[in-house]
Amino acid sequence: MDNIKSGDKILVLHVDSADLTDLQAELNSKSANTTTSLIGNIEGINEASFDGVIAYKVPEINDFQKVLSSLKPGGFLILTQSSSDSSQTELNLQIGGFVRVAASNAGEYKQFVCFKPTYTAGSSAEVELLKEVLVWKLSQNVDEDIIDADNLLDEEDLKKPAAESLRVCGTTGKRKACKDCSCGLAQELEAETTSAAPPPKSSCGSCYLGDAFRCASCPYLGMPAFKPGEKVKLILNE
């Protein structure tokens, strides 16, 4: 329903008017200018007059062309159908002239969102076919005149990156405490600004998990993970 903008002219096609209460409420909240019509009465609808069409819980649409023509160029169609009715729908929408067809599931229903193309039938645009064929003809081994590739580089390109930009902040040697720090480092870091006395040392609960979990003061840094309680010899570093 995000396709709907305030003031849009919306046509709601339906089978049973009882279904419409919720939909109507939503459309009103968006200040849409709504017209409702039973799906069977679609013949009388004016051409190119709606920003969007919502076909709500309709078992089938016989004439997609009519729906398409009722939309302004670029207008949308949101079609909700029960899944059992919708096997051919996507194909029919595409054949019918809609573009950017997207299907999704909405509970036991299938919802299709698609658009009327922005070009209108009968309009034309120049297609530069011939020119492209000439340009992209890859003649093998023809020594064509080529530009000097070095001229593609300017002053900026010759510059090297600044040394600081290559560094990750981690090299400043930030000290970091483990998540459930029990050795006091977290408190120490917090207290750093108020320069409180360092708390007493106690063993860190995360040592056995490996370097990824250890705090900066862990004596086991540099060694692999081990099982809790496993006796691990601490190798004294120089």
């Binding site: 997207a102 299907a103 340009v135 580089l153 990750v168 370097d211 990824a212 692999p224």
Partner: protein, 573 residues
């Protein structure tokens, strides 16, 4: 959920030499599915032809007006021509009327996060702008970000009852090798730095069948994981109840035509072969690896952490956990055991990267050193904050090779173009293992009988005359015979550091004479960082002091030399 809406067709073109671009192309393709783009990925057969076509002067300025595009380059800012290919392509497409969706992405290997540093934000921006150009209609929404990762190939397996049905000695790549591949045998593998020097550098001599190569050419080989690495990986799997006996035979089949099984993985292969030759057990996990681990793990706390590593905000932490300490996939699997225990055979091919072939500059001359290829290899071993030492995959593989061992290799043209005219001097600046291509060229000229101290000027830099001055005897004997002018910079033999750039300044007169009066070509090779820039500045100063040019003219002079390939650089990290 819409099953029928199909958005615009998105084509991902990639040119990939090491597999990095292909990896990113696959990621973009995967993510495009979230927005219902009909995606295809293609590696143009002939990038050169495609580019030459685009450069045609006759193409009208509106030829591509119906095209929307975005370019992501994967480069290295330590190179002079940083991302030039991508920059040129981006410009040219715009010139031909194509519509640029987002500014060019400049992936930089020098970034702390590697290519991900630039490609992550670029890909985010791509989707935002692609959706602006091609909005999803009503009722159609993008799929959730954390799409379940579907293994690209189906894997069936059986325990091999007859060990002989898979030739253990045969490489996984053997039956699909191209005609340019050939076997070489190790003649010897000698350490050329002293034992008390911090770095182990090898001169490895390979016996060929007389295959020809030129100066500047490169030999390519596929390293294997060390036996200890394979054992460690298999141990971690087993410890977490993932029991895949090494003799298990894998059979891979295609799940979708977008991801065909590559030729070398199409036959029956053993798990042991995959662990030795295919899976890179030392690769550093990236963002995507953690999406997979998040999916695999049944521990809430692990899942939370893994998902954190996949977010933009979590990149700092990812860097600290993986990239900075160079933590590899095997180690991460050990840390995230509740994910590891749920690994299935097909998921292995998503978690692990294939080992990439590696290039080495050939340090010998095929005429002088008949039937031989020599390479200079610095063995990569260093410490990070991880307790276990870091080992470079390829250099350590090569370090373990012994006389008589066989390796499959192929040749490739290097980027250096050496002067054909023996009258043209070559000024070669090659500290450390950078000297490799120069040893090649020097001995080529020696073999041709045209080598002289006038046309071969070598600036060699190392730490100490008595520790890492490799090939010293060879150079000194050539120098004695007037066939080479050797100038050395020993950085640590005295209090102040002396580097090759200082020696260039010291020999300014000779350098200028070669540049101004004889068509000298300058070559700079070696480990990147600051060296290439420092060396270039030194040459610029020579032009100013000896040539009397002002700074601007000196810069233009060097730039012109670079343009005409008279000043060439080949550096690696």
């Amino acid at each position: 959920m819409s099953g029928t809406f199909v958005n615009e067709k998105l084509t991902v073109l990639y040119g990939s030499q090491t597999g990095n671009a292909q990896d990113l192309a696959e990621r973009i393709w995967r993510e495009s599915k979230r927005f219902h783009f009909a995606g295809t990925g293609e590696e143009p057969d002939n990038m050169k032809q495609f580019w030459k076509f685009l450069l045609r002067r006759s193409l009208p300025a509106d030829s591509l007006k119906k095209l929307n595009f975005a370019v992501l380059g994967l480069g290295d800012s330590s190179y002079v021509k940083y991302n030039f290919v991508a920059k040129r392509l981006n410009k040219r497409l715009g010139q031909l009327g194509a519509h640029q969706l987002i500014p060019i992405g400049l992936g930089d290997d020098q970034h702390d996060l590697g290519y991900d540093g630039a490609s992550d934000p670029w890909i985010e921006a791509l989707w935002i702008n692609a959706l602006n150009a091609f909005p999803l209609p009503q009722g159609v929404s993008p799929l959730d970000r954390n799409q379940p990762v579907v293994p690209r190939w189906n894997v069936t397996s059986k325990l091999c009852l007859e060990p002989k049905s898979v030739n253990k000695q045969q490489s996984l790549y053997y039956s699909t090798r191209t005609s340019k591949e050939f076997f070489v045998t190790i003649i010897d593998n000698v350490r050329v730095t002293t034992d008390d020097h911090f770095q182990d550098v090898r001169l490895i001599k390979l016996k060929t069948n007389g295959q020809e190569y030129n100066s500047g050419d490169v030999v390519v080989l596929r390293p294997r994981n060390l036996p200890s690495q394979v054992a460690e990986f298999q141990r971690i799997l087993l410890e977490n109840d993932v029991d895949i006996p090494p003799e298990t035979i894998f059979n891979l089949s295609e799940r979708s035509s977008d991801f065909p099984v590559p030729p070398h993985l199409q036959g029956p292969i053993s798990f042991q072969q995959l662990c030795e030759e295919y899976f890179d057990l030392t690769s550093i996990p990236r963002r995507h690896t953690f999406s997979i681990l998040a999916q695999l793990t049944d521990s809430e706390i692990e899942k939370e952490k893994c998902l954190e590593f996949t977010t933009a905000e979590g990149q700092d932490d990812l860097y600290n956990y993986c990239n900075r300490p160079r933590r590899n996939i095997t180690e991460v699997l050990e840390d995230f055991r509740h994910a590891t225990k749920n690994i299935t055979k097909d998921i292995l091919f998503e978690l692990l990267q294939p080992i990439k072939p590696r290039d080495f500059s050939i340090a010998s001359s095929c005429r002088y050193h008949r039937d031989e290829i020599h390479i200079l290899v610095a063995v990569v071993k260093y410490k990070t904050k991880l307790t276990k030492e870091r080992l470079g995959l390829c250099s350590n593989y090569l370090a373990d090779l012994k006389s008589g061992d066989e390796v499959s290799v192929w040749l490739k043209k290097g980027s250096f173009k050496f002067p054909l005219n023996p009258e043209d001097p070559a000024i070669m600046v090659g500290p450390g293992t950078g000297v490799a291509p120069f040893r090649n060229f020097i001995f080529q000229r020696v073999n041709e009988g045209v080598a002289s101290a006038d046309n071969l000027i070598l600036f060699f830099g190392c730490r100490s005359r008595c520790k890492d001055f490799y090939c010293k005897d060879e150079y000194e004997s050539l120098q004695d015979e007037g066939m080479l002018h050797l100038i050395c910079a020993f950085s640590r033999d005295q209090d102040d550091k002396i580097y090759v750039q200082h020696k260039i300044a010291e020999n300014a007169k000779e350098v200028w004479r070669a540049l101004a009066t004889r068509r000298a070509h300058i070559f700079v090779a070696g480990n990147s960082k600051n060296m290439p820039q420092e060396v270039r500045s030194a040459f610029a100063r020579v032009c100013v002091e000896e040539g009397g040019l002002d700074e601007e003219k000196a810069e233009a002079f060097l730039a012109q030399m670079e343009k005409t390939n008279q000043y060439q650089t080949e550096t690696w990290s």
